[in-house]
């Protein structure tokens, strides 16, 4: 297989991942050092690694090289990697001071001496970097094997992270659950991959795309391939924490320590969404809508896949929000909230062409940053050396820690979609993408869900800020390190300010994915509405000039080059 692809561009494209991988090795060694200063520098090393990878992307990444290396969506690949790295830096920061907390305390007290056998800090950050590395590999996968391995590289370290993040039995129980159920979901999408291979006869995503285009042209994707796709989507649902694979989330999120929960609610999610987007691209899900020769707009997604996603979307939002309503634990609440947000994001996948693509990316950024603000604040607190996780424990902490309460409030406001904050714009874009793609009923469901969610998000504002301090919140003090609080502060500021600069963030969002020539796609019987063709705008013309397939492409964006 690799004979198809020249090695040079591939290495250039993979340089960030190589750096992150190298960093993970380095970190795991340094973490074992006897010197306390060196041991403490492990998170810093991890952050430096991620920064180096960011620099590598900024300087070394080119869409042409990526396309040569077999990457289906070069620009998408770049954006996803950047998001993962930037949020990853924050995730490393919020975990500072949590790992080995007891052991370091004991060493400092002189109760015990340093024992390399018992220290886990290095491994923890190494696993973190490995998981980030796995997630970064996903959007650029050229074939199914790669995709499978990358997904596993994302997930396997997280199982261990859950277990080692906290010394308690609950964490170990959560890890075991997470692992077994994860293995099951892996089996589901691996079976799906096998069926797709059976139908398309190739593992190369490029080839699969061609084969399925031809199949669609001649009447539809065959049963084997379609079943494969459905199974893949269901398998990925586990990574997204979407129905029907969402059951694990509350237990696992509750069992893991706060920073790890923050990690779990973002990295596997973005990994799952990029895998989903990548896979669906092979059956017509592109960044653009395509106008066929008869003038109809082809959304690209075949009806069964659309129906599956529709169902997943509606169910996930609703179950997530209903589940979150009555939780007493902040983390369980956030777990259900994370489920609900996956549901919203599936709406972006469904809306697909045009705005949907941008909405997905913007929502991922918004969710990632907001998540950091909340988990940064939660990780910045402790009670008797343990995580703070119940609402009562947060009650009235605004009087002692107004900053932390403010970040919780900003994060919570953004998650519920309160106007000037980042989350509002993300939801606005998402809903408009949904309306534009003709999925108004789904948007209405999402809007109702969003309204319901205000109920429980307001508690996260109200309890810390307005409730009187109670007996259970008395022992709550600041955490051992100020890095989580700092990361939370930065994230909160970003949540407030980013809306003003958002248009620059997504940049030239028009060329997210290569445009397939319309001649390969005939009008197919999809459930998408037929939106009337409009006059190409000037922006459309510039898009055409940028497109590598300008001669054959007959595409129109049925939105202006919308940027937030």
């Amino acid at each position: 297989m690799s004979s198809f692809i020249p090695m040079g561009p591939k290495v250039a494209v993979l340089l960030p991942e190589i750096i992150v991988f190298g960093g993970s090795v380095l970190v795991s060694i340094v973490g074992l050092n006897r010197s306390k200063t060196l041991r403490k520098s492990v998170p810093l090393l991890a952050v430096c690694t991620l920064l180096a990878a960011l620099v590598a992307i900024a300087l070394g990444y080119s869409n042409e090289a990526a396309e040569q290396a077999g990457v289906l969506m070069p620009h998408f690949n770049k954006i996803i990697k950047t998001i993962i790295l930037v949020v990853g830096i924050g995730l490393v920061a919020i975990s500072v001071g949590h790992i080995d907390r007891r052991m370091e305390d004991a060493v400092a007290r002189g109760a015990t001496t340093f024992d390399p056998m018992r220290v886990v800090r290095g491994e923890f950050y190494a696993f973190m970097l490995l998981s980030i590395c796995g997630a970064m590999l996903i959007p650029g996968s050229p074939d199914l094997i790669w995709l499978f391995l990358a997904l596993e590289l994302t997930s396997l370290p997280t199982y261990i992270m859950v277990a080692m993040s906290r010394g308690t039995r609950r964490a170990q129980e959560a890890a075991v659950k997470y692992f077994f159920l994860g293995a099951m979901s892996t089996a589901v999408f691996l079976y799906g991959f096998a069926l797709i291979y059976g139908s398309a006869g190739s593992l190369q995503l490029n080839t699969i795309q061609k084969v399925f285009s031809a199949q669609i042209e001649s009447g539809g994707i065959d049963t084997l391939g379609m079943t494969g796709f459905i199974l893949c989507i269901l398998g990925f649902c586990y990574k997204l924490a979407a129905a029907p694979m969402h059951f694990y989330a509350p237990d696992v999120y509750e069992g893991a320590s706060n920073p790890v929960t923050g990690f779990l609610s973002f990295i596997p999610k973005i990994a799952g969404f990029s895998a989903l987007a990548l896979l669906l691209t092979t059956v017509g899900w592109t960044g653009h809508s395509i106008i066929s020769e008869t003038g109809t707009v082809v959304s690209g997604l075949p009806a069964p896949i659309l129906a599956t996603l529709w169902m997943i979307c509606a169910l996930t939002m609703t179950l997530g929000n209903i589940g979150a309503l009555l939780q007493k634990s902040v983390k369980r609440m956030l777990a259900y909230s994370s489920i609900a947000h996956s549901g919203y994001m599936v709406l972006a996948i469904i809306a697909g062409p045009g705005l949907g693509f941008e909405a997905l990316l913007f929502y991922l950024i918004s969710y990632g940053v907001t998540n950091l603000a909340i988990f940064g604040a939660l990780s910045g607190l402790q009670k008797r050396g343990e995580d703070v996780e119940r609402f009562e424990e947060l009650s009235g902490i605004a009087r002692r820690y107004p900053g932390l309460a403010a970040w919780l409030a900003i994060g919570s406001g953004s998650l519920m979609g309160m106007p000037p904050l980042l989350g509002f714009w993300a939801k606005l874009m998402l809903f408009m993408a949904g309306i534009q793609a003709g999925h108004t009923p789904l948007v209405i469901i999402a809007a109702i869900n969003s309204a319901v969610s205000v109920w429980y998000y307001l508690r996260l504002i109200g309890v810390p800020s307005f409730s009187p301090p109670g007996t259970s919140s008395e022992g709550v003090i600041k955490g051992p390190s100020s890095w989580p609080r700092f990361a939370g502060a930065v994230a909160a500021v970003v949540v407030v300010l980013l809306p003003f600069f958002a248009s620059r963030m997504l940049g030239n969002s028009l060329d997210f994915s290569p445009v397939r020539p319309a001649s390969t796609v005939k009008p197919v019987n999809t459930t998408t509405e037929h939106v009337p063709t409009e006059k190409p705008t000037q922006a459309f013309d510039t898009a055409l000039q940028r497109s590598p397939h300008v001669e054959q492409a007959q595409l129109a964006l049925h939105c202006s080059p919308t940027r937030l």
Partner: protein
């Protein structure tokens, strides 16, 4: 003088008047105008850092002064680059919002970028906002010195936020950005009114200002929404073209509602009836704030809003008449209260409300130039008055009672303060040939010359108010600055006794005898210098008025005439006789002079020559039951606060408690706990799904997946409807 006025009848033809609003030119080369906004923004960040790092010293003050001076310099550069009559330009700074969906025919797009719309109206406002902002910031570096190391950074942070928001407001090229600035100035005002946050009155005043403004802001928000829905855009450039077209501009209930909504916003921000109640209380803030925000700049945002959307208002004559009448009545009403206050900062606050009333009257009767010009002159003389009041407060440990201060012009160090205050009072009382008279007369002449909507009556109300204004402004000056030297130190309204300490440091005296040995703390160079500069500015603002009077073209007139605000304003027929066989010019000239001099004369009698007679008059009024309500009601501000308390705050309080009860017992008690019981009631059905047992989860997940696959296979694949 009269002949001089008569020659000016033809002046309107002397100026080139725009009939249509020119389409704004996109001017990327002017992108440096973004720095007018960026400099205050940088100052916000730096002073915020000073706050966080607890900087001791005057650094934050000078950062702010430098940033604002930079902004002012850029505004001047822009002004000299464009001239008075330059065409409007749009400078695109960066994309902000650009949505579109569905078919493009209706309101299916929303575009609002962070762009700057600069026309003469914007420049007019920017000139005095940044100019006065700089001067007042310099003044505040000295005024706030007792708070150095404590609230000093916070204060200048608030001032920077304010200037940033105010510049955004006047430079916005769309209503959404304008709204952002609008809320920003409201926030800055709230923060600065509540600057002395340990003082309950200041905290309450801050809340009051914020809440009363919310009512107005709701109006503005609804107005913006209606504009977007009805006209499909919120960008001024597009809207002006639509509003010039009567066919598209009017029609339907929605569209006729828009000016009233915007008006409500303007009345809230500019403290007009019925939403004026917050402004007098806002005097709890530090005095430079009162001068900058609550006299010179922020409160004119309402005037700016209506001037900016004037083409829309011109389509709705009834709405304009409403603006005029609300303005006129506010002017009169506030003046009656101002006559009976003893706190001279409050007197100036009520005079601000009254003068803003004149501006709205000017807008309503159709002279946008008069309104804008009065805004300019008022900005200077009212800033001057507040800053002198601040200097007196600073020197006399917060003393504000005009009965406890007298003869300050003879107190060493207070000469400049007294004489600049005299200039301010003369300008405020529309003394003949002062800038205040020139601008006010433009409005009154216009009102008297329009025989429509009862505007002539409004003109007479304006003249009566002018007499009251002259009386109350000189009541302050004669009491405080003239007469025998006498003063009582105030309680010092700072949160602790720094001003005392400071005064003692300057003039060593035993602390035990603070009251007897009190030495006024005279203002130094920063305060005196700023007072003199603003006084010169107050003189200078008269120049356009003189030129206008002589029928000459002048920069202020040309600027307003070349902005969107001029479209739709009315040209009055000033030659027709109205009352007493005189034309409006002559009427205003004669009666305005009588009002001004008469008011000053009465004030002089009661408050300089025969001070005891003022008390006697009051006693006499109070002794007669049939008329005793007049002084009582005026001193108690016509009981409006009490009325609002009874009508709005009371019911809101009761409603709040009912809602709280409902929330606690009905919602929490029945619904939450009730909903909470549903899962346990249906436990047998749902429990196995979330039982925390691994196998259970696995079964459910596998079962769910199997159901989905089975359904898809049946629905599409087996039934043959594969796509």
């Amino acid at each position: 003088m009269m002949s001089l006025l008569c020659t000016s009848d033809t002046h309107s033809s002397a100026h080139a008047v725009v009939t249509a609003i020119v389409n704004a030119i996109p001017s990327p080369e002017l992108s440096w105008t973004g720095w007018i906004l960026s400099l205050p923004a940088i100052s916000v960040v730096l002073t915020g850092l000073c706050c966080a790092l607890r900087v001791k010293g005057k650094l934050p003050g000078w950062i702010t002064v430098l940033a604002l001076a930079g902004s002012f310099a850029l505004v001047l550069k822009l002004y000299f680059l464009r001239g008075d009559a330059g065409a409007p330009v749009v400078v695109h700074l960066w994309d902000w919002m650009n949505f579109s969906w569905g078919d493009q025919s209706k309101w299916h797009s929303l575009q609002a970028d962070v762009s700057v719309y600069v026309d003469s109206l914007t420049l007019f406002w920017l000139l005095f906002v940044t100019g006065l902002g700089t001067l007042i910031a310099i003044y505040a570096t000295e005024y706030m010195e007792s708070d150095v190391g404590k609230g000093y950074s916070r204060f200048f942070n608030g001032v920077s936020v304010f200037i940033l928001a105010m510049c955004t407001l006047v430079m916005a090229d769309n209503l959404l950005l304008l709204y952002l600035g609008w809320e920003g100035v409201g926030l800055a005002s709230y923060l600065l009114i509540g600057y002395y946050y340990k003082k309950p009155a200041a905290v309450a005043a801050g809340k009051k200002a914020f809440i009363v403004n919310r009512i107005g802001d709701l109006g503005l928000a609804v107005g913006i929404w209606l504009i977007w829905v009805n006209y499909g855009s919120i960008e001024f450039n597009t809207l002006f073209q639509v509003w010039q077209d009567t066919e598209r501009g009017v029609g339907g209930f929605d569209k006729s509602l828009i000016p009233y909504c915007l008006m409500l916003g303007a009345f809230g921000k500019s403290a007009q009836l019925p939403l004026y109640v917050w402004l007098p209380d806002a005097m709890e803030g530090p005095t430079p704030v009162s001068a900058l925000i609550h006299a010179a700049t922020m409160v004119t945002a309402g005037v700016y809003l209506i001037a900016r959307t004037y083409p829309l208002f011109a389509l709705h004559p009834d709405a304009l008449a409403t603006v005029a009448w609300v303005g006129g009545l506010t002017a009169l009403f506030a003046a009656t209260i101002g006559m009976a206050q003893y706190d001279f900062k409050r007197v100036f606050a009520y005079s601000t409300i009254s003068q803003l009333g004149y501006m709205f009257m000017g807008l309503g009767v159709g002279t946008t130039f008069g309104a804008a010009y009065h805004t300019l002159t008022h900005a200077f003389f009212k800033a001057l008055l507040f800053l002198t009041a601040g200097a007196i407060m600073h020197g006399f440990a917060g003393q504000l009672d005009l009965r406890k201060l007298s003869g300050l012009r003879k107190v060493p160090g207070f000469k400049i303060v007294s004489w600049t205050m005299l200039i301010g009072c003369l300008w405020l009382s529309a003394f003949p040939f002062s800038a205040g008279m020139l601008s006010k007369d433009l409005i009154l002449v216009q009102a008297l010359s329009i025989n429509n909507h009862g505007f002539v009556w409004l003109g007479w109300i304006g003249l009566i108010t002018a007499a009251m204004t002259a009386y109350y402004s000189f009541r302050v000056w004669f009491r405080v600055c003239a007469g025998p030297v006498f003063y009582v130190a105030g309680e010092d309204n700072h949160d602790d006794h720094d001003a005392h300490d400071h005064a003692h440091a300057a003039h060593p005296a035993p602390a035990a005898h603070a009251k007897h040995e009190f030495h006024p703390h005279a203002p130094r160079w920063a305060m005196n210098g700023v007072l003199l500069i603003i006084m010169l500015g107050a003189f200078a603002t008269g120049i356009p008025g003189y030129m206008e009077l002589r029928g000459q073209s002048n920069w202020a007139q040309v600027m307003i005439a070349h902005s969107s605000a001029f479209a739709g304003s009315v040209q009055a027929h000033v030659t027709d006789a109205v009352n007493f066989g005189m034309n409006p010019h002559q009427l205003v000239e004669v009666f305005g002079t009588i009002a001004s001099l008469g008011g000053i004369a009465i004030a002089m009698y009661f408050h300089l020559l025969q001070r005891k007679s003022a008390d006697k008059l009051r006693a006499w009024l109070l002794a007669h039951n049939s008329i005793r309500w007049i002084p009582v009601a005026m001193e108690n501000k016509w009981y409006v606060d009490e009325l609002y308390h009874a009508c709005i705050r009371g019911p809101a309080w009761i409603a709040g408690h009912i809602l709280h009860f409902t929330d606690k017992h009905v919602v929490d008690g029945l619904m939450v706990n009730g909903v909470g019981r549903i899962p346990s009631a249906l436990g047998g059905l749902f429990q196995p799904l979330y039982n925390g047992v691994l196998q259970g989860y696995a079964t459910t997940m596998a079962g769910g997946s199997a159901l989905v696959v089975a359904w898809i296979v049946y629905r599409w694949l087996v039934s043959g409807a594969a796509s």
